[in-house]
Symmetry: C2
Subunit: 128 residues, 2 copies
């Protein structure tokens, strides 16, 4: 992995970079996760988002259990070269493990987090 | 700052939370930064984005030098309660210190980061 484009990225001390996943047509931001060099290289190679799971300390091929893969249409880098924005096509229209379109399903209203997105599919049925 | 909504957030060990700023109407993701409890509380209180600058280790009232403030229209929280998404109205239409609409102005094409957004205003004129 000596590619220049990979080396241009300012990785954290842990060798990670934060990644924002955005549904390409609706513009909905659906997820935030992390990648390491290997997962980003794999994402580019396969055309589907592969993250680095910090909790499980392993590669996380998004959708490996749920089937909700994220097809990558564009990969964008910010001015400091330390954040990545993915334009994706979300398979199944569900990015969140709660069965919602987006992980950002709560909104602050009058000092309280209110749920603003419906559950599209029962998680028990997604992960069965 | 004993508000429950603040306590619901899973702060990092450093007391921070990553924040994605998205232009509310176009859907363009314009920036990624961090907030601590104080800056998030101030953001809610003032209605304008206040970040925590990790490099300068101080509150960063976005637009304090450039005038490019971010009016907050909505604050969303993700499923793990550890990432915030701001729906904003970007003053001046420029979020990036390079004078571009978005900090994500580079796109990966054929193994190279290519610039995909024009400079709308010379940074020398923004920060003079």
């Amino acid at each position: 992995m000596s590619q220049e484009w990979l080396q241009a990225i300012q990785w954290t001390e842990d060798g990670l970079v934060p990644v924002i996943a955005q549904q390409h047509d609706s513009g909905r931001v659906v997820m935030f996760a992390w990648m390491n060099r290997e997962s980003l290289a794999l994402s580019v190679e396969t055309g589907y988002a592969v993250y680095w799971s910090r909790s499980r300390q392993r590669l996380w091929r998004k959708g490996e259990e749920s089937g909700h893969q994220q097809k990558i249409l564009d990969i964008q880098l910010d001015c400091d070269a330390d954040v990545i924005l993915l334009k994706i096509e979300q398979q199944g229209g569900i990015a969140c493990h709660t069965g919602r379109q987006s992980c950002f399903y709560r909104s602050l209203h009058k000092g309280e987090w209110q749920t603003i997105e419906p559950i599209l599919k029962d998680p028990a049925k997604i992960y069965s």
